[in-house]
């Protein structure tokens, strides 16, 4: 039982990164209709940017987070200019190939610049003064500060995003675009700006996930491959374009994986998600939480 709780918490930590990556992916799909296969590379770049900020620039945690958010958002803007802007009048399949190409290019650029060795982000107590005063043992569950940071940041960022989507004009125009882009355009929504905001937000969320996760696991050039696939799993489970669905499904996938590796075997851990996703795609094409949409 004690171990079970520990697995649950571990799963929620990993699941939180899935949420951060998947929410951006689902936003980009839901609002712009772009399937971004290069989303995992935002995560990878976030990881390296975090290491640069903490190690080379010697920044404390909060400024480092701001730095990573800014770098990732800029990468997101560049991706928008490459993947979305020139393709606006084409069918959706164009972005499949070009975002796949962008992913391959970014991974190999990272391989050349950073080398293949995995790297770690060293977040010691001196970097996070407030957090390091919290306890790390909660009954039978052990939760180091670096790990604790991940769900905390996730809740803060996703909460903020939800509030923005719900209560601000920017959020309203984003949601209007998701509902009907032509009508939104006619109502004066500036589509170009919405596209930029969406990509920047999605990339920033994934970048933060990459930064925080590389203090627990490692970052390497092709780390984004697996993360992107997991995020796609989550997005499909949650219903394409559904932010709340992605948040729930992300935590769920993290927990399922953690339990699978604990009680089944570690090597099936990465496969279980894909098996679920293929099943969901075949039998529940709108996802677990998706609304069924009628077409005539």
């Amino acid at each position: 039982m004690d171990l079970f709780l520990q697995y649950l918490v571990n799963g929620a930590v990993t699941g939180s990164t899935y949420v951060l990556v998947a929410v951006g992916l689902t936003l980009i799909f839901g609002i712009l209709g772009v399937v971004n296969f290069a989303h995992g590379e935002f995560y990878m770049i976030g990881g390296y940017a975090g290491i640069f900020a903490v190690t080379a620039m010697n920044l404390p945690l909060l400024p480092a987070i701001v730095f990573v958010l800014a770098v990732a958002a800029c990468v997101g803007l560049a991706a928008e200019a490459i993947l979305h802007r020139p393709m606006k009048d084409r069918d959706a399949t164009s972005s499949i190939v070009s975002s796949f190409g962008l992913a391959v290019a970014l991974q190999n650029a990272a391989l050349i610049v950073m080398g293949p060795q995995p790297q770690r982000l060293n977040l010691d107590a001196s970097k996070m003064p407030l957090l390091s005063e919290l306890p790390t043992e909660f009954g039978p569950v052990f939760l180091p500060h670096q790990r604790m940071l991940i769900p905390l940041t996730m809740v803060a960022l996703i909460g903020a995003l939800y509030a923005v989507l719900r209560y601000t004009w920017t959020g309203r125009s984003l949601r209007a675009m998701a509902q009907h882009s032509t009508v939104a355009r006619l109502c004066g929504v500036r589509v170009d700006r919405v596209a930029m905001v969406t990509f920047a937000t999605g990339a920033a969320l994934a970048g933060i996930a990459g930064m925080l996760m590389s203090s627990v696991f490692l970052v390497y050039p092709i780390v984004g491959n697996m993360i992107a696939l997991k995020a796609f799993t989550v997005v499909i489970l949650g219903g394409m374009g559904n932010v709340i669905g992605a948040a729930v499904a992300g935590l769920l996938l993290g927990v399922i994986e953690s339990l699978t590796s604990a009680y089944v075997s570690n090597s099936t851990r990465d496969i279980v998600g894909f098996v679920i996703v293929i099943g969901v795609l075949l039998f529940l094409p709108n996802g677990l939480f998706g609304k069924s949409v009628g077409r005539s």
Partner: protein
Amino acid sequence: MNTALLEARCLVKRFGGVTAVSGATLAVGEGQILGLIGPNGSGKSTMVNLLTGETVPDEGEIVFAGEVVTRLPSYRRARLGMARSFQMLRLFGSLTVEDNLVLAGHIRMSAGVIGSALNSQSARSEEAAARTRARELLSWFELEEFASRSVTALSIGQQRMVEIARGLMSEPSMLVLDEPAAGLSPPNVDRLILLVRRLRDEFGISILLVEHVMRVVRELCDQVVVLDAGRKIAEGTPEQVVNDPLVIEAYIGSGWKRRAQA
């Protein structure tokens, strides 16, 4: 009462919370031209999709050529002799006019795909026969000069004719025409009326005609079914349904009376 070639009983189709078709029934007799009309959003398109097999009904039964086809995919219905045209023109844009027709003739070929890949004698002669038939049909429609052109080079009216010619390639017993007069100029509408009548009289094809243009319905249809909000609200000859108070009520505000008298 002649026997029905296509019969739909109590069809129901829901999309999420919306019931697009609720309990509609219709029958197309052999050699009959049946009109299917109704205001926008009355469920005509859904009805056509159910009858041709693009969607499967939640309830009800469809019988075509003596077989229950309720859940058969559209290609199986096509093989039983059902052909259709589309409301929004649909042709294979990367193929020539002739190839568009020949493809529709594939289902009448007996050599399998293996034989065709091996280029067997029988496959080649069948292919040649299909090409001849495509040319014949095109000349019947006065389109033979466009045979080897891309379909995108044709006008809307000509593309509609190609769609109907494509339907004939498979030697169907039933043709479903989904708003064939949409986007046609008045002289072309006249041509369409003559043509559809000839299809029935010369080829003996039964026709289900979904149409907005009342002139076409009045001149062609033996019998008309009126849908409103997914239900059948009237059935009868064109004259009868036009004067039916229920029908008039369903159309009020959409200019029915005016159009009916035009």
